[in-house]
């Protein structure tokens, strides 16, 4: 996949592999991200993968696009098929009405039963395309056509932390309470972002996520364990 190089002022180069949400594009972005990080290119400050591009932030006092564009081009050329290591997370989620204010509405609008919506959502291994919008906020896809809905016409000013939400072809979890316009179909008691950890976000871009249905009682038990620091989210190495 041959990328386009876009200039973001004098502090970043954006390496664009496409203009849409696409798994192959995402894999190319994430692969290049791993290569650029491993190459430790002088002057590169940090890298940010998104759905379709990798933004490479640099220090304009030490390097520039004249050096970086050819260097990154070499890394793209030399890329092998091997994808970087990633994890598969099994996220406990309650879809009970107390945790899912929009589930009935989503079912009505998609002409499915609430059980069918939950079965679809828990039956998919989602791909973490990117983190953005808020610290630790994962954009995960893809939802089946039958669950694709536009965002809510009236965004909420307060969405509780842990809300499991859907919009368009994506699902997400709100890491902290924030405004939001997605449909809330469940909630998880796990913590997605901990600024006191040296690795603050639970998920990395490229990880896989499955939702495992739990009862309200299990939700409360896990929430207590999370608060006590005794809960670990089930996780394994991803084989693809």
């Amino acid at each position: 996949m041959t990328p386009r190089f876009l200039l973001s002022g004098d502090t970043a180069v954006t390496v664009e592999f496409g203009d849409r949400i696409d798994r192959a594009v995402s894999e190319a972005v994430l692969h290049l991200d791993a290569l650029v990080r491993a190459a430790e290119v002088p002057g590169v400050v940090e890298t940010v993968p998104t759905f379709r591009s990798l933004t490479v932030h640099y220090d304009p006092l030490s390097t520039g696009p004249d050096v970086l564009v050819p260097r990154i081009g070499e890394l793209v050329e030399g890329a092998r098929d091997a994808t970087p290591p990633a994890k598969l997370w099994r996220v406990p989620a309650s879809y009970a009405s107390v945790h899912a204010p929009d589930l009935a509405d989503v079912a009505r609008r998609t002409k499915l039963s609430t059980e069918e919506v939950v079965d679809l959502h828990t039956g998919i291994q989602f791909h973490v395309y990117m983190l953005g919008f808020a610290p630790g906020y994962p954009y995960m896809g893809d939802l089946p056509e039958s669950l694709v809905l536009p965002r809510r016409a009236d965004p909420r000013t307060r969405v509780p932390a842990g809300s499991v939400a859907i919009a368009a072809s994506m699902t997400a979890i709100y890491p902290v309470e924030s405004p939001g316009g997605w449909h809330l179909i469940g909630a998880t008691p796990i913590r997605l972002f901990d600024p006191h950890s040296p690795h603050p976000a639970l998920f990395d871009p490229g990880d896989a996520v499955c939702f495992e249905p739990i009862s309200v009682r299990e939700f409360e038990a896990i929430r207590t364990a999370v608060a006590a620091g005794t809960y670990r989210v089930p996780c394994e190495s991803l084989t693809r």
Partner: protein, 351 residues
């Protein structure tokens, strides 16, 4: 009791900022740091700190503190305001000069004249443990700085040192040009191809005005509409500080220190890094005019700015500790341009 500055009045938005939290934009956490990095570094140099020592960033209105330490040295940079001290007698120290204060002194950072942001550096810095490598405050997510938020009345900002060295004070050898009337230089893109040729010509030939919707996340501008050629939604990609995003309103937003790390609106152009502090200083109501440069030009301008800043720091002059300005003289004779004018302005008038 530990050394502290006690907050008697917090100003409008006073936060701890250092040079920013680098390396977490890939998990959605912006770098934060100062709106005006040049002024933060100058303030630190005035009190003898390393450049990245955390300092207090104040927006539009200064804070008032009481010194709860044996002594403390502070300096203000980034505005033409002053530090006004009420102790045995009232006196004022202009921006660009350090001053040593003692326990019980009450000092107020006065209104800023024309600039949005001022930086109060403290010798030794506040005693704030870095979070993810930085003491910068990201208020929106409650991360870093003083309990993740702006200072409030009654807060005690802990200080790393209980006493300031007894020595000459330092002052800028020449006033810093805040650049309030200079054109803002941009590199076109990354998505200028999402706009009509007319929109690009409009951006580069019109006066825009900083609107009241200006905060650490971004400055929204008012001015002629920038017409999209291919719609205003793009699949999210990375953003940088300085990116000029144009949402459906067709009015540009310049992303600032607390920018969202990714965004779904096309970015017509990007303010060059040397001019970020210059944009940051523009108050609501002030004009902005853009001019395009290429990226190698932009890097050259940044190198020049860095060299000028290092020269300003190397040329700091020594001032005898008695060198403070008598406040009545300041008011009557207008010794410091802008200060008397600033006192006539309510800081809230600009909001």
């Amino acid at each position: 009791m530990t050394a502290a500055l006690e907050v008697l009045a917090p100003g409008l938005h006073t936060t701890v900022q250092d040079l920013g939290r680098i390396g977490y934009q890939n998990v959605g956490l912006p770098a934060s740091g100062p709106l005006d990095r040049v002024s933060l570094r100058l303030a630190n140099a005035l009190v003898g700190n390393p450049p990245g020592t955390p300092a207090l960033e104040m927006l539009l209105q200064g804070a008032t503190f009481s010194v709860a330490a044996n002594s403390v040295r502070v300096a203000l940079a980034g505005s033409d305001g002053a530090i006004e001290i009420e102790s045995s007698r009232v006196r004022a120290v202009p921006a660009g000069q350090s001053v040593r204060l003692v326990r019980g002194d009450v000092f107020q950072v006065r209104a800023f004249g024309d600039s949005v942001a001022a930086y109060l550096a403290i010798e030794g810095g506040p005693d704030i443990a870095p979070l993810l490598g930085s003491a910068s405050t990201y208020v929106r997510s409650g991360i870093g700085g003083f309990h993740g938020r702006a200072l409030r009345r009654g807060d005690r900002l802990p200080l790393a040192r209980d006493g300031a060295d007894v020595r000459d004070e330092r002052a800028l050898a020449r006033p810093v040009d805040l650049g309030l009337d200079l054109p803002i230089r941009v590199v076109l893109g990354p998505q200028h191809d999402y706009f009509t040729d007319d929109a690009i010509a409009t951006l580069l030939s019109s006066d825009y005005v900083v609107s009241n919707h200006a905060d650490r996340m971004g400055y929204r501008l008012d001015g002629p509409a920038l017409v999209h050629a291919k719609g205003y939604n793009i699949v999210s990609d990375g953003t940088v500080v300085g990116a000029i995003q144009v949402p459906g309103s067709a009015q540009p937003i310049i992303l600032m220190a607390d920018n969202q790390t990714t965004g779904g609106y096309p970015k017509i152009a990007t303010v060059i890094s040397a001019d970020i502090p210059v944009v940051a200083r523009r108050k609501p109501g002030r004009a902005i005019r853009f001019v395009a440069v290429d990226v190698e030009n932009a890097r050259g301008l940044r190198r020049e700015q860095e060299a000028a800043l290092l020269r300003d720091i190397a040329d700091l002059r020594r001032v005898a500790p008695t060198g403070e300005i008598d406040l009545s003289a300041l008011y009557t004779e207008n010794l410091v341009s802008g200060v008397t004018r600033a006192f006539d302005d309510s800081p809230l008038a600009a909001r």
